[in-house]
């Protein structure tokens, strides 16, 4: 049980800076997810916390003690690798007890701890097998079991589910959530999958090109993204972005005009916008609805519809050629080339300035 503090962490491979000054606080019992596109430095950040990579500058504190230069073996952290990294020459039991054997824990309590972990993870019948005789999901459990028995200060996971098939991934995701609830341990989890981030995290850290874009609770990030990157990265299908120009700024609202001539009044309170400046309107697919032709806020032409059973995703183009994604219920039936009106839920819209930063939030989501 522990908290972690990272200040101004920098890491470079040769001339390429991979982590560009990371500041982060992780509290006791928290499930923190690092999410971001492939290659953004998530694994590198996790590995510096683990001690498997040196840092160029900056500090890492575990429970107020600096661990920046400490060997991984001395940090008392456990890591679950994407490849599972089980010891192939040891049985499941030995894999799980290895750390305790090294630590010189007595045989009796090792047995107890291994048995307890095996019970939680339903590995009891597999204890005498070698890793090569296990399925992917079972190996995954052993890797998790190996870290549970140690009762480490923090659990580190590096994309632990990405080698599993879709069904198993959902199941393991639930088990991880349950595990976190039962163990009440601090966990740091790396993934590129925003669904895992949204469903598992107490706190999501969105990384992009070695920098933290935003930190917050999943729903907070979803509803109040700080910039276009976070807004676009979280949410399936993606948020649609439309270019616009500011017409008028009121105390509690902003009037904008889209490229296709549509005028909208958004209930966003902001001081920093000037009339005539260029902005980007962000709308999530669930905040747009279809309506009759020639009605609604604007007219669009349909391109493709994806029927998922529960929902239908409609991909459309505005008359100025910009893409718009609309999420509708399953009964919706539109055909390619068809023109219809759409109604925009202006209370849920996002507005970004030219640098891509949110200019403010819709009034009703303001706390």
């Amino acid at each position: 049980m522990a908290n972690l503090k990272i200040t101004q962490l920098r890491k470079a491979y040769g001339d390429v800076e991979i982590l560009k000054g990371i500041d982060l606080d992780i509290n006791d019992h928290e499930f923190v997810v690092f999410v971001g596109p492939s290659g953004c430095g998530k694994s590198t950040l996790l590995r510096t916390i683990a001690g498997l990579e040196d840092v160029n500058s900056g500090h890492i504190y575990l429970d107020e003690h600096e661990i920046t230069e400490l060997a991984p073996a001395k940090r008392d952290l456990a890591m679950v690798f994407q490849s599972y990294a089980l010891y192939p020459h040891m049985t499941v039991r030995k894999n799980m007890s290895f750390a305790l054997d090294l630590a010189g824990v007595d045989k009796h309590s090792i047995d107890e701890k291994v048995k307890a972990a095996a019970d939680i993870l339903e590995l009891t019948l597999l204890l005498d097998r070698k890793p090569k005789d296990l399925s992917g999901g079972q190996r995954q459990r052993v890797a998790i079991g190996r870290s549970i028995v140690r009762n480490p200060k923090i659990f580190l996971f590096d994309e632990p589910l990405s080698n599993l098939d879709a069904a198993l991934r959902v199941q393991m995701r639930l088990e991880l959530a349950r595990l976190h609830r039962d163990l009440r341990a601090t966990m740091i989890y790396v993934t590129h999958d925003q669904v895992e981030a949204m469903t598992l995290a107490d706190k999501v850290v969105v990384l992009n090109q070695g920098q933290i874009e935003q930190v917050g609770a999943p729903i907070e990030l979803y509803e109040r993204p700080k910039n276009m990157f976070v807004a676009g990265f979280l949410g399936m299908p993606r948020m649609s972005f439309l270019d616009a120009k500011v017409k008028d700024v009121h105390s509690q609202s902003v009037d904008i005009e889209l490229n296709n001539g549509t005028s909208l009044s958004l209930p966003i309170a902001t001081q920093n916008l000037k009339s005539q400046s260029h902005v980007t309107l962000g709308i999530r697919p669930e905040h747009i609805n279809l309506c009759e032709k020639e009605s609604g806020d604007m007219q669009v032409t349909f391109d493709v519809a994806e029927h998922l059973g529960s929902d239908t995703y409609c991909y459309a183009k505005t008359h100025s050629g910009e893409s718009l994604t609309i999420r509708e219920n399953s009964e919706t039936n539109v055909s390619a080339g068809e023109s219809l009106g759409v109604r925009i839920n202006t209370a849920k819209c996002h507005l970004f300035d030219q640098q891509g930063n949110a200019v403010g939030y819709a009034v009703d989501t303001e706390q």
Partner: protein, 278 residues
């Protein structure tokens, strides 16, 4: 003639099989001939055409036993091979570890450079090495042979172990580090057990190379530290050629290593085809 696919396949297997047997017999024949000759009298050994039918005799072996102390030479061979192999492993394993898991941009060229030293003709450095050994007062000592054999075999040992270590995912070593293993524990509990097949092949190869080495043993030893290769050579020159006795002593020199090789065939094949299978 029209061959079905199955017949073609059978024919191919047959031809390849016959070729393999042919080559194997060709390679084996000298050894077979040596063994045969060692049981002939000197006259029979020398006769043309060579005789296949003869009354086997142990006379040669008995003479050798009288004239020289086989076990003295065999013991030297064993000591030198085993200690040189151990010393080699002690250096090669850490070297290969750092090259395989902490690779820098010069690792590959260092390896190639090490291997390239094997291409120098040993005779080119005979005089300097002889003088060095002499000045160190190590002429005709096992220590000199051990050190020299180790140095000769190190490049190939490091290279072999490096290729085996390369096959081990780095993650597993990192997992051990996370589990609290010290460097030594990481190596002894995880790395070495995982690569024991490869290490065994390397040890075997080193033993064989040391056992068979003749150039340095002939030049640096005379009697006290002389291994079996020197014993064999002593039967070939001074008193003219005695084919049967030479064959008998050669058989005695080869026997131990052939027996070891026979029992560890599988390891050996795997070890020697490293690199080729990739």
């Amino acid at each position: 003639m029209h061959l079905t696919l199955r017949h073609q396949k059978q024919l191919k297997t047959l031809v390849i099989g016959a070729l393999a047997w042919g080559i194997a017999l060709l390679l084996f024949f000298p050894i077979f001939w040596m063994l045969l000759t060692s049981f002939k009298t000197e006259i029979e050994a020398f006769s043309t055409p060579p005789s296949f039918l003869f009354t086997p005799t142990l006379e040669n072996y008995l003479t050798i036993n009288e004239r020289s102390d086989y076990f003295h030479f065999a013991w030297n061979s064993v000591v030198v091979s085993v200690l040189s192999t151990l010393l080699g492993m002690l250096v090669a394993v850490p070297a290969a570890y750092s090259m395989a898991f902490f690779e820098t941009k010069r690792t590959k060229s260092t390896l190639l450079w090490m291997l390239s030293t094997k291409m120098l003709p040993p005779v080119g450095v005979l005089v300097p090495i002889y003088l060095l050994v002499k000045d160190a007062g190590l002429l005709d000592t096992k220590a000199a042979l051990i050190v020299i054999y180790t140095l000769i075999n190190l490049p190939i040992m490091v290279w072999m172990i490096y290729t085996y270590f390369k096959e081990i995912p780095k993650d597993i070593l990192e997992a051990a580090r996370m589990d609290g293993a010290t460097l030594l524990q990481e190596v002894t509990s995880v790395l070495l057990p995982m690569s024991k097949g490869g290490l065994a092949s390397t040890i075997l190869l080193s033993l064989i190379l040391c056992w068979n080495e003749a150039f340095w043993s002939l030049n640096l030893t005379s009697s006290e530290a002389a291994p079996l290769t020197a014993l064999v050579a002593s039967y070939s020159s001074p008193e003219g050629l005695f084919w049967a006795k030479l064959s008998a002593v050669s058989t005695l020199a080869c026997a131990p290593i052939i027996i070891i090789g026979w029992f560890s065939q599988k390891q050996l094949v795997r070890g020697l085809s490293f690199g080729a299978v990739k």
